[in-house]
């Protein structure tokens, strides 16, 4: 009998728990530890944030589902790993802070760290909805607040006022530019739908070197007889929609109705706004780790940014020496073979986009994205490896390197069944592999993008399909990640 403990119930953690439970026998235990009682299908938070979807449509409670499926659910935040046990016992365990302030020790045979990101609004003074001056769509309640703030702006515009909207990222090291991109084009569509677009000035503010970078170094797409960089398509969409942009920017301060930013050339500027939706940078959730003697081994298990070290190359080599093989395949901890990380919780070996600094030393470069499809694929591969190891395999048997997998992304650009559009994109692989694809690092036949109504239908279909899968309804395993 084995006990598999999964920290986190997001896309990676919930996928890993679902498959581990389905594949393991009833004699083995699967436990999920998460501070949040609900599952949130995060991609649809965008629609909540523009008022097109109720927050309860993007979440569901996990406890009844886990009870039905035989998954133990502990609502609490993991605070420390003890992979060698402690002086009283050699059995590995996790310290968990429960909601009521008590703490609990949860033993494990195999551990998956799928804690996702800590939302570091604190990295930029004044950033964020909790005590700050900007909105967010990272969580359902953030998205609800953004929607309410947007309603107020629309009311003002209906009374004849002009309003200024700023959407993008709130720090030079942010990731998930794709989500902010989705928000700004949905916002623009929604302002048109509400009849107030002519009174709105909309600005995109990003840390990307070029638009369409999305933390993946951009893409090259075959279109109209040319191989065209994704920046062309992104700029085209913004120009068509009347959205201005500021790129290569690090937001250094947000105050009421204004923000300050620095650009890669070292210049600093200010920007006034009436409504700002700016995503925060991410870090690990701050898990600690201790050895059998109680010595702090956090630095050995985790990178300084709090993400967990796995089977990747963390030597910090220069960009010209980056290889696809630097990226992890099994997501196993190099120190403890029964510990894995999945989704955002694993530490990437380095960015995908070229790192850049301003003359003042400010890092202005997107961090690599690892949400959605890659998170789910990694969670599933890790669960499969653990199940095999429970059954006697010597080591991980499954792999899901981001340099060997692709991503499909549908970025909604307006929600209407007949007039809506979305940008549908696939990229293969996510991390460019210049040894395999010397010209652009990616497979040109499998890297594509287009805008159209079909994309909106697919986005809607995915929303329902992935929530159906997450609820583990009949046939859920047939739905791809």
């Amino acid at each position: 009998m084995a006990r598999i403990v999964i920290l986190g119930s997001g896309v990676a953690g919930h996928t890993a728990a679902s498959f581990a439970r389905a594949w393991l026998g009833r004699g083995d235990d699967v436990t999920v530890i998460s501070p949040r009682p609900d599952y949130n299908w995060v991609p649809s938070n965008i629609w909540v944030g523009v008022g097109l979807m109720a927050p309860e449509k993007v979440v569901f409670p996990l406890a009844p589902l886990y009870e039905r499926k035989g998954i133990e659910f502990v609502i609490g935040a993991a605070s420390a790993l003890h992979p060698e046990g402690d002086p009283t016992s050699r059995d590995p365990f996790v310290d968990v802070e429960l909601a009521g302030g008590e703490s609990k020790r949860v033993p494990y045979d195999f551990l998956i760290n799928a804690t996702g990101p800590a939302l570091r609004f604190d990295k930029t003074p004044g950033l964020g909805p909790d005590g700050g001056f900007s909105q967010s769509v990272c969580l359902p309640d953030h998205a609800s607040a953004a929607s309410a703030a947007l309603d107020e702006e629309v009311e003002r515009m209906r009374r004849g006022e002009r309003r200024k909207f700023v959407v993008g990222v709130g720090h030079g090291t942010c990731t998930c530019e794709g989500a902010a991109f989705e928000y700004i084009v949905n916002l623009e569509f929604e302002l048109r739908a509400r009849g107030v677009r002519d009174r709105a000035e909309i600005m995109w503010l990003t840390n990307e070197y070029e638009l369409g970078d999305f933390g993946m170094g951009g893409m090259h797409l075959k279109r109209g007889g040319y191989v065209t960089p994704s920046s062309i398509f992104n700029e085209s969409l913004f120009a068509e929609r009347g959205i201005d942009w500021i790129k290569r920017a690090h937001v250094s301060q947000v105050s009421e109705g204004a923000l300050e930013y620095e650009t890669l050339d070292g210049a600093t500027s200010g920007l006034q706004f009436d409504f700002a939706m700016l995503l925060p940078p991410f870090s690990g959730v701050g898990l600690k780790a201790f050895d059998a003697a109680g010595e702090d081994i956090t630095e050995q298990m985790f990178m300084p940014n709090g993400f967990m070290r796995v089977d990747a190359d963390y030597s910090g080599k220069p960009v010209e020496e980056w290889r696809a093989s630097d990226w992890p395949r099994s997501y196993q901890s190099p120190l403890y073979p029964n510990v894995f990380a999945a989704g955002i919780a694993f530490a990437p070996p380095h960015p995908i986009s070229t790192p850049r600094k301003s003359p003042n030393g400010t890092v202005i470069a997107p961090a690599p994205p690892r949400t959605g499809m890659p998170s789910a694929s990694i969670g599933k591969a890790v669960a499969a490896s653990i199940v095999d190891m429970v059954r006697g395999a010597d080591g991980p048997t499954h792999h899901a390197s981001m340099a060997e997998m692709g991503a499909a992304c549908v970025a909604s650009a307006g929600a209407s069944l007949t007039k809506g559009t979305a940008a549908s994109m696939t990229v293969f692989p996510i991390v460019p592999d210049y040894e395999r694809y010397p010209e652009y690092g990616r497979d040109g036949a499998r890297t594509f993008g287009e805008i159209g109504l079909a994309g909106h239908w697919i986005k809607l279909l995915l929303h329902h399909m992935f929530l159906y899968k997450a609820r583990m309804r009949p046939g859920w395993r047939l739905i791809p990640e």
Partner: protein, 49 residues
């Protein structure tokens, strides 16, 4: 900014029309789905049991 925006590629009226032209979009729905299924199938190659 404004300067860059004026240099950006813009869609023609035909392109805009095709983005919401139902017969074409039904076809694209099928094509894009197949492309995404292909990616998903490749991703699961390492996690298939």
């Amino acid at each position: 900014m404004d300067d860059e925006s004026s240099y950006a590629t813009r869609p023609t009226r035909f392109t805009l029309l095709m983005r919401t032209f139902l017969p074409w979009q039904l076809w694209r729905f099928a094509v894009v789905n197949l492309k995404m299924i292909d990616i998903s199938r490749r991703n699961n190659h390492g996690a298939r049991r």
